[in-house]
Structure formats: C-alpha cells, structure tokens
Symmetry: C2
Subunit: 344 residues, 2 copies
DNA sequence: AGGTTATCTGCAATCGTTCTCAGTAACGAT
DNA sequence: ATCGTTACTGAGAACGATTGCAGATAACCT
C-alpha cells in the first residue's frame, strides 16, 4: 500500500517535483546524489498510469495471435519479445480462433498499447476500423486483411513454399497429389493453395476437387481431412499438408489406419516441427524462420513508433526452405507401372 | 489523432462530464439515448490511462514465464488467457531463462498490472521484494520461490510424478535407472529429483551419482546429458527425463547414436508431447494438465483481486498421470540374465 | 562593473477520468 | 403547505506525472 509518489521524493530532498521529474528524464540537476538516494530509500517507482496519461504513450505493444499453443505462433511471440527492447513490453492476446474474441480484444486495446502486431483471423474483412480511425499503428505478421497493403507486414512466401512442396512430390513421380489446406479466407490458406495449383499446372497435372480439402489449420481438421482422402476410390499417393497442426493430425490418422509412410503414401508438411526428426519416418517439410518473422515485425513497429508514426508501410518477406527428411518416396503405383508396363 | 474525450461527449449532449462518466459505469442517467448516440457518432473510447490513474487499477494481469516456446508454458498461458474474462487482459513476459531479464521485467511491471502470475526462474532467492513491499498480488505457477508459501500457488505433484515414473521403470525390472534432471534450484527440478530418490530407496536401489545428471530443462541440455550417460562404463538400462524439452534432446542423442528404444534403453519423460504418439516408439510419459494449471492460477488471481486483496494464500495441486505408450520395456541385461543364469 | 549567456529552478497548467459533495426537482405522506 | 425520500444533476477536486514559462543564479566575456 505504500504508494510513494514523486512528491514524497521531492519533499524528502527539499526540491520541487519538477526537479525530480527532470532528473528522472536524464537532465542534470542540482542534488543528483541526494535524489538518487531518496528514490532508493523511499523505494519510489514512477506511476506508469500517470506517465501514460500525460505522454499518451504506454510503452506496451500488443501481439494478437490465434493460438499461442501453436509452436509457430509461440516462436513469433518469442521473436518479438526478444526484440522489444528494455523500455517496452508485450501484451499478448490469444484469440482462440474466434472472430468475436478478436474483435472485442482489439477494441479494448486502444489506449492501452502504442501499437499492435497481429496475425488476423481472416482476410475477408477490412482491417478493423479503429486502426485507421485512431491511427493505432499496426504490423501484420504471417497474415493480412483485405486492405493489408496499407499497413506494414511481415509475410512468408507462402505460394513459393507450397509450390516447392508440390514440385518436390511431382519430381518424385507422383501424379495423384492431394492437398490438405487451411481456410482460403486466410492469407496462408489462400496463397498455399495457389502455390499447389501453380505447381500442378506446371507439371501438367489437372487439379481435382476431391484432392483438395479446405480444412482449418487445426489438428482435428487435419485428422478428418486425411481420413476423407483415404476413403476416395483412387486415393492420392502423396499429400501436401499446409501447416504443422494439420500435419500432426494427418499423421495421427495414418497411424490409426495403419497406413505406412512413405511406402504407401508420401507426406510433406508446411512448417517445421520440433519433433520432425524424431517421428518415424522423419518428416520432410517446408520450413521458415518464425522467430525471425516475429523479430522483424517488432523491428518494423519500433521503427514506426520512434519515427512518430511518419513512416510508409513496409512489406517484408521471409524465405522458405525445403527440409528433406524421410517422409517422401516414389509412389507405389508408379513402382507398379515400372514393374509391369501395362496399366495406364 | 482524433482524440475524443469524455468532455466532447458531454458538450455534444449538453450535460456534464460526470453524467457521461456515470452512464459509462452503468448508472441510469437522464439522456441515455442521446449519450449512446453521441458516443457512437464521435467514436469515443474512454482513456485507459486516465482510468488507471484515477482508479489505481489497470485491468491487466501479467504472466511471467521462462520460455513461451516450451509447449508446457504455452499451455499455461493459454489456460490463463481462457479464464481471464472480458474486462481484463494478459501481459506476457518471456524471461528467456535469464535472471537479469526476469528482474528487470518485474520491476517494470509495478503500476502497469494489477497482479502477476509467475513461474520464477529459481527458488534460491526470496521473492522479489516489491511483491511484499508494494503488495502487488502474485500467484506462483509450476514453481515457487523460497518464501513461496506466503503467496498463492498452483503446483504439480512433482515428487509423486517422478516417483511413479521411477517405480514404473523398476517394475519393469530395471535396476540401472538414471535420471536427467532439471536445475535443483527450481521447484520442479528439486521435487522430481526427490521423487526419483524416494522411488529408488523404496526399490532398495542405491542412488548413484553418475546416474543422476543435473541438467537445465533445455533440449541441448538433455542431449548432452544423454551423451554423458551413454559413455559410462555400465550405462543405465532406463532413463527418467525430467521435462519435455530434455526428453526431446535425449531422444535426438539416442537417435544420433543409433541406440534403439526400448530394446537397448527405456525412456520415460515428464510432461506429455503433442507428438509423443507419433515418434517411434511412442513415448511413455508422466502427463499433467498444464492448461488447467494456468486456468487455476488465473482463478486464484481474479478471486484475490475481486476480494480487494483480502484473501489468504491458497495452494492448489494438480495431479499427474502415467501415460503408457511404447518407450519402456524389460532391460536388456536382465533378459540376458534370464537366458543364461550365470553372470552376476 | 555591466551585460550576455548558460544553466538550473519552482510554479502551475495539463492529461482524461472518477468521485465526493452539495444541490434541485418530483413525488407522496403528513 | 411542509417535510422526507428518491433520483438525478453539475462543479470541482483529486490521481501522479510532464512541461512551458518566467525567474533566479552562476559563469563568462568585454
């Protein structure tokens, strides 16, 4: 309860509050030493609230993510945290994949934070009006909203990643290549589907509706999608799964059904997993540096903030990379084709 | 820049600011409808800073964890997030296993948050003085400091979990049971070591120094520890690894050395892994509900806050559970013993 | 010595709320 | 008609810091 204010310190030293304030902001004042001592003795801490009110700045940057238990977003947060610096802190909002929560949280953010780093749930809608309306700085990370180009962003080259993944399967001789995708209302969902389609086209493989399942980036969704693919009459020989959680789900499904990887089906995932090397077979994936994305987003935000918000939107793109392990092989069917060159 | 204040609203409607303020806090006032309209038209949002200054409350609860990329802590955060309610938010601090960062962050927290939920880095020291000094409410989760009983806490029955794990190995016939532990300066590190020792004693197995490695809860640490164990003249036939990250490291080490699980060595981990079922063999672990721990911690905090801080410290204990999968088997040596009953 | 800087000082206004206090109007009871 | 009660009102003082302003002091130059 001992709420020591700047006035108490001033009284103790015998100077005005202004002097204490100036000392605190780095000016040289007369009784430096005594002030320092008094602050320590009284255990004085400046009131953040009062400072905020006066300065209009809070020293807090919000990070809004759909799901903090997703290692990818956890790494983004960690990267941002590592770059935030000493005089600012991070406010975390976990929207739990709920538009409603996202909206509500966002509206609470105004006045509490200096800026928002955000992976929006959907790009279908315009950016929440308060961003433009109140001039609350925002940096999009991993995903953007429809009018996203108006704000800074740090994205992955999703289309390229998906294309590399699909090309990789094609180069192994696969023709029946399915994709378990994310919601096409999100940036990564859409772009990865685009990349998959582009690769198919380049490989002169026709896109089949039943080989493309739009799921929801969740483990349960990946499980269900894989089950669905296995029930098709002519099941795919290879599957590109568009994120880590769905990949886990798909692997669980295959395991439960006793389908052998990569003998019966090849799998390539998007986003590396901590345990990708440990599972059997080790999982081949498209990887990218999530930590870097978070860090870059924070850099952009800080730059913007330190510039007094006068900067132009900047768009940064993080590269993707194929990590070959053991979950892709030649298709079973095409092996058959080689052994008896009769059937189609 | 349109910084609309309560005064603007008051002017617009033609009443005093007090009336607007009262309307905002739920009282019935005269021109309800006009006020509502004015607020929407002007797009007025109350200034959080001013409210904080006046009320002394911020509506923000801090969560301080060592490493957000550790799925266990991510789940704790998620659990807390899910319970925080609509009128409060979470401020995340990731200390990155650095005492210095922890200390610095903590000192910045005062005045910015109403309370702190925290997994401290070490229990060697007293709780940071400002907790008691300023009366900033705190709830410890997973770990406590030396004087932790003075504050509410949500812990796991670490000793019991470790004992179950070790018992389990003993019941499989293992006698050469090693442990890769966490820092004994932390609650979980110490308690799990205690449980291991207790189980050994009960099984009448003498504790060997070379079978107990005090590591650091990191993947790299687990890797190194496992390597060290493998180089012992009489290497253990089973290892209890005291957390998820170290387990990953240990598994990587075994994989790199080509040691087969569970044929050559049995492994049991503490804390479940999302991919525990997918790795080969599926990993047997001691599991607990991290989300629940976070949720309970938040409950305790909110209860405390809503009570005006008048509550007694409460201590809650979350149960552990053995999840049998496939990483433990009979020891190799003892199989040999059975086949030729000669040696030792 | 007198004038000019340079440096530091305290006063007081300010940020946007909340909250106490005194006051007013309406209404029913006496 | 007076009183008490209820239900609301506005003025103005906080909350704890920052900052423009004018004044004070010391240092320096001619």
């Amino acid at each position: 309860m001992s709420t020591v204010t700047i006035t108490d310190v001033a009284k103790r030293v015998g100077v005005s509050v202004a002097t204490i304030s100036r000392h605190l902001s780095g000016f040289t004042v007369r009784n430096q030493e005594q002030i320092r001592e008094a602050i320590i003795e009284l255990n004085y801490r400046p009131s953040a609230a009062a400072r905020n009110l006066k300065s209009g700045r809070t020293g807090i940057i919000a990070i809004v993510v759909p799901d903090i238990t997703n290692p990818f977003f956890a790494s983004i947060v960690e990267g941002a945290e590592s770059t935030v610096g000493e005089d600012r802190m991070i406010l975390l909002v976990n929207t739990g994949d709920s538009r409603e929560r996202e909206e509500k949280a966002l509206s609470q953010l105004f006045g509490r934070v200096d800026g928002v780093i955000m992976a929006p749930l959907t790009e279908d809608e315009e950016s929440p009006s308060f961003f433009s309306q109140f001039g609350l700085p925002i940096v999009f990370v991993d995903r953007v909203t429809k009018d996203g180009e108006k704000f800074s962003s740090v994205l992955t080259d999703n289309a390229k990643g998906a294309q590399i993944a699909t090309d990789y399967l094609i180069s192994h001789g696969h023709r029946k290549i399915a994709m378990i995708g994310g919601p096409c209302s999100t940036t990564p969902g859409k772009k990865r589907a685009d990349g998959y389609r582009a690769a198919l086209k380049k490989g002169e493989i026709t896109f089949l509706n039943e080989y493309f399942i739009e799921s929801d980036f969740s483990e349960a969704g990946g499980y269900a999608a894989m089950c669905q693919l296995l029930e098709i009459d002519a099941p795919p020989t290879a599957v590109f799964v568009a994120n880590n959680l769905m990949t886990m789900g798909a692997l669980h499904a295959l395991r439960d059904r006793g389908v052998s990887i990569p003998r019966e089906i090849s799998i390539i995932g998007f986003d590396d997993l901590e345990c990708a090397e440990l599972i059997s077979p080790p999982l081949t994936v498209i990887a990218r540096d999530a930590r870097l994305q978070g860090s870059q987003a924070m850099d952009l935000m800080i730059k913007h903030l330190n510039n007094g918000g006068a900067t132009q939107p900047e768009h940064s793109m993080v590269d993707v990379q194929l990590v070959e392990r053991g979950s892709c092989a030649l298709p079973r069917k095409s092996q058959k084709i080689r052994s008896n060159k009769i059937d189609h």
